[in-house]
């Protein structure tokens, strides 16, 4: 039966070669289609290259029409608006697999929140020596202003974006936690929209769990952490403004939640309350979902040259007169050096074994690890602990001798700044390659979204599957030539 299906028309899959050692999401080791992909595969097999090109164009058009763009600022100051490349072959996650991920994500997020509460209050975990105190205090994102503050509901990381990969052993591994201002969720929703417009018939044969409820859930989380005694909180989304690369997402979220999109200059603080400037005068603001980084949020407390922030907002926050999502200082827990302690953090606070795997990590700071790193550089990925977006990442297997020597010097000069991990082989997934008119395999990962509020939690079903569109590349970030796929969790 399976053989029949696979032989209907494999022309668009003809060039498709599974590579030994890589885990393919769609095909098993015998080059047969996995059960949960059968129906989708069958349908795509029926299409000719022309059909697929049409589908591809149609999907692109859907993004143009929705206005889903991000801005790239390298070339000129005005910025160029680009479409985030989209691949129409959906990534499918069977329900059983997903259930475990979801439990694991909630466990992880809960532990991270308890950890943040602890390091800004009693610091028990540091005193017990489970996590080195120096590591936390020397983090760029450790925020003194948060000491002894009690955020509403005890929640610090309301929105977290955890990046997962599937390794060649078939297991998911957490690659990093993003708990400052994780972005990309708007792509999840617009990918689904594009998919429904383009290949609606595929949905008829699958029970795909919805993602469209994200804005509604986010709003509920936002409202749940309003300051005490506020019944009908005035909530806003704070954006750095339309020149920010993620502006589309900010306005999309504000619009779909039905709350105002504001900039720093729309807000002011008077007597430790936050107000927005409306045509009918000041209006009090209770909860701010802010997409402005910690450093920029209050020129009176942090960077004095920031024009994106609201002078005095930290005072209002300290008084409990306004809630911020995420809380300032959450970055102290998503530092890549802290990442390696997350399993220990989970055990410490919850007394449970971590459900999700961590990638083994070597700290250049520790002498033993540092020696190992220098000796095995070719087999490691080395990265700075405090950069995001894939900048400054060194992949040992791809480096020339000169590059190896140069990077050795760089990490030796600043050991605290670097960690190393074994090269994880990201799973591959058939992806439509326009230039070649056929499917080829490309590496993928998964950015998940987990929300935590006062007595409320939510995990977006699926998330953003990111694709490294360059052949053989492991870097999936949109700023560095990545694309994305619709991600289906089946009922």
């Amino acid at each position: 039966m399976r053989q029949d299906v696979a032989s209907i028309n494999r022309s668009v899959f003809n060039a498709y070669v599974s590579e030994p050692g890589l885990l393919d999401e769609v095909f098993n080791e015998n080059n047969l289609v996995k059960d949960h992909y059968r129906k989708v595969f069958t349908q795509f097999s029926r299409y000719s290259t022309d059909d697929l090109n049409k589908i591809n164009e149609y999907a692109k058009l859907s993004f143009f029409n929705q206005g889903v763009t991000f801005a790239v600022y390298s070339e000129n100051l005005k910025g160029i608006e680009r479409i985030f490349p989209f691949d129409f072959f959906p990534r499918i996650i069977p329900n059983k697999e997903w259930e475990k991920l979801e439990k694991g994500l909630l466990q992880r997020t809960l532990a991270i929140n308890l950890f943040l509460e602890d390091i800004y209050h009693d610091k028990k975990i540091l005193k017990d020596g489970v996590v080195p105190a120096e590591l936390i205090f020397s983090s760029n994102f450790y925020n003194r202003e948060m000491i002894n503050i009690n955020p509403a509901g005890g929640v610090y990381a309301h929105v977290s974006g955890t990046d997962l990969i599937k390794h060649s052993d078939g297991e998911y591994y957490v690659l990093e936690d993003n708990i400052r201002c994780p972005s990309g969720v708007s792509y999840v929703l617009s990918n689904r929209e594009a998919m429904k417009r383009t290949l609606s018939n595929l949905f008829l044969s699958h029970q795909v769990l919805p993602v469209q409820d994200y804005p509604e859930q986010l709003l509920a989380i936002i409202q749940s952490v309003a300051p005490d005694g506020i019944d009908n909180p005035n909530c806003v989304v704070l954006s750095p403004g339309m020149y920010n690369s993620a502006y589309y997402e900010h306005s999309f979220l504000a619009q779909s939640m039905g709350i105002p999109l504001v900039e720093g200059r729309d807000l002011f603080v008077d007597r430790n309350f936050v107000y927005m400037k409306t045509i009918y005068g000041p209006e009090r603001v209770d909860v701010i979902y802010r997409r402005v980084d910690d450093d920029f949020i209050d020129p009176l407390s942090f960077r004095a040259d920031s024009v994106l922030g609201v002078p005095g907002i930290m005072g209002a926050y300290r008084e409990g007169n306004v809630s911020l999502l995420n809380a300032p200082g959450t970055g102290a827990a998503d530092d890549k050096a802290v990442y390696t302690y997350i399993p220990a953090i989970i055990k410490y606070y919850l007394g449970e074994d971590p459900i999700l795997n961590n990638v083994h990590t070597y700290h250049c700071e520790s002498d033993g690890d540092f020696r190992y790193v220098l000796e095995h550089m070719q087999n490691l990925v080395i990265k700075p602990v405090d950069e995001s977006g894939g900048y400054g990442v060194f992949i040992g297997s791809k480096a020339s001798k000169e590059e190896l020597a140069q990077y050795k010097r760089i990490i030796t000069a600043n050991r605290r700044k670097y960690i190393a991990q074994p090269i994880m082989s990201l799973s591959v997934h058939p992806t439509y390659i326009e230039e070649n008119g056929c499917f080829e395999h490309r590496h993928i990962d998964l950015r998940t979204y987990c929300l935590m509020g006062k007595k409320k939690q939510f995990v977006l079903k699926g998330g953003l599957t990111r694709v490294a569109l360059t052949k053989g590349s492991l870097i999936v970030n949109s700023s560095q030539g990545g694309g994305s796929k619709d991600t289906w969790v089946l009922e």
Binding site: M242, E263, D266, K277, T278, I279
Partner: protein, 315 residues
Amino acid sequence: MLSRIANSLFWMGRYLERAEHTARYARVHYCSSLDAPLVQKKEFVMESSLNLSGLLYEYKKAHGTLEDEKVLYTITLQESNPLSIRACVNSARENARGARDSLSSELWESINRFYHYVNNYSEADLNDKGIYNFTDKVVENCAIVNGYVHKSLIHNEVWSFIHLGMHLERANQITRILIAKTNDMGKAATQKLGKVVENYQCVTLLKSAEAFDMSRTYYKAVPNYHDSLEFLILNNDFPRSICYNLTRMGRYLDRINHSKLQEKDSLEFTVGKICATLHYLTIQEIEGDVLIFLNNMLLSINKIGELIEKKYLNY
């Protein structure tokens, strides 16, 4: 509504209207100069166009002599000139972008298309196809955008602020056109050129305000200065008269205003007072010294703009 959004909407309206007026004025003047009575030299017309957009001084500093192509380029496409049509359209689009959530996608897209059209139009295109083609498209695009403003928005504050900007700018532009033409005629009069020139000037004046046809049907006569002034300043029903635009502004302000108390020298009071004066003014009273009247009018209009900003748009 956030004051910043209101500000963006207001200025979007103003810039759109400004682009339209600059385009029409340049077109009407340039085209009419082609077959103008003897003395209506092109240079004279060029100067008038630059004058209207307040560019004469800057232009002379940069170029010295008045040359067709340079003048036209300065007025239409020069990006570094903040008063050029392109700069106005860019500003309108920038403001629309800042308030995009409040606009219908039809309206946003029409502005966006307008923006792309103007920005893809090169200096070579301008020299090649001539001023008529470009300005015509600008006026047409403005009409399309206005259409979407009218029929794709809820008639709420968003709509009111766009209109406030448009009406304020239109009253402003009409006043400026009247001043520029009155000056032109003054110059012509000293040269004793007689009726032909007066008639010519009145036609360009009315056409610049898109008022030529309507004024003919209204007065049923060959245009003269007296009637043209009356039509453009005092007519109650013509959408391009100063009186009409200020009256409309009064209405939009009433829609927005929540407080029923009217304080002396408040925004609503000031607009109401100017409108009431215009309703009971005759053209004979104005004719005594037209320029003084018009310059005072310009000051009043600017004053209204300031009061709107102070009351609603500060952020």
